[in-house]
Subunit: 191 residues, 2 copies
DNA sequence: TTGTGAAATCCTAACGGTTAGGGCTACCTT
DNA sequence: AAGGTAGCCCTAACCGTTAGGATTTCACAA
């Protein structure tokens, strides 16, 4: 449990970042399917096994920030101001996440994801994991005495809102509309 | 566009069924990951390429009835009695589907699915496809003048209900509870 | 009946993601 | 300064999947 202090950690992080950057730029340049793992490794000047030491799969190279996403989502619940209603906090955070993923610079990445079934599928299954984490956060909140089922359903609904909005013509409006539905669903579970 | 009359169709269906049956029984016997496609093919006495002529992937061998599922779901909407409210019809159908998948004999299959990340992921992405089909059916219903977003969200919520219920301790109660939420969400979108 | 086209199947070889095995080097700790 | 180990490397392989092209089997019409 000791925190190793320095160079090794930095080098590891640098290697990871270099792999992710190299991969993304190759993917964007020539297409996700057209670039192989062996090629990514060669271009990043590491061994294939090193790539898989840092990323669990080829798809994971594209969703480097996965971890952040989940943390932001759960923190939006656990760390919200004492008086703020749950759904409002969730709504705000999901809106921010959607803005992030529909921002100017993200368009080519989004196009790439939509263009590859493997990536779409992977993104969905990430959403699943995030929904589970969120459901756990909801269930742990002492201010919300709701059933496990209500927590799980609400968590999935929130992820649905995100997924729908990222692909919608008007992402902002979509988030708002779906959250009006979620609000009603949540109210319906009040004890 | 001619309907070929008989033997060829029957033989093809028989081959398909034999492959699916062989695969499922091998998977249940020795574990999904421990059985390779080459082995399934050998045991079913067909070529590997024939397996893939009938099933798009190894996972698809397990979800043979995929097509039925989607049809039942959309038909529950498009074919409901003229007076029956949408959510009630959906609720009824999802409850039936859940009962089907939590029935006595399905337990080993469920266990196998839950035990393999690849299968869980595949099932989720099937759900996605079904949600899209369902959303299209909702959008096409002339009696429900709701926004595209409302239709898409409701479709995903319904699939969520199914997914949650299949894994819940009390599947029936879970379906009912989540559908109370969906009902409220749907009402909130009334024009 | 037989010839013809097409569908279903087969075989082989390969491709691409992924992992096991085992070894080397550089860093951290003591 | 020495030992231990984390991070990295190489090679060879496994497994799902597909391309290519040959072969069989059936449906249908001449």
């Amino acid at each position: 449990m000791i925190e190793p202090s320095g160079r090794r950690e930095r080098k590891k992080a640098a290697t990871r970042q270099k792999i992710a950057d190299t991969a993304l730029s190759l993917f964007l340049e020539r297409g996700y399917d057209a670039v192989g793992i062996r090629e990514v490794a060669a271009e990043a000047d590491v061994a294939v096994t090193t790539v898989f030491a840092h990323f669990a799969s080829k798809e994971a190279l594209v969703f480097e920030r996965d971890q952040d996403f989940e943390e932001r989502l759960t923190r939006a619940v656990t760390g919200r101001p004492a008086h703020e209603p749950l759904i409002a906090a969730l709504h705000r955070e999901v809106r921010a996440l959607v803005r992030h993923c529909t921002a100017e610079g993200s368009a080519p990445v989004r196009r790439m994801i939509e263009g590859s079934p493997a990536l779409r599928e992977y993104e969905e299954s990430m959403g699943l994991r995030h929904a589970q984490a969120l459901a756990a956060a909801l269930a742990a909140d002492p201010h919300l005495s709701r059933s496990t089922t209500a927590c799980r359903a609400t968590a999935r609904f929130a992820i649905d809102a995100y997924a729908l909005a990222c692909r919608a013509d008007d992402p902002g409006a979509t988030v708002d509309e779906v959250f009006r539905m979620i609000e009603a669903a949540w109210e319906a579970t009040a004890p």
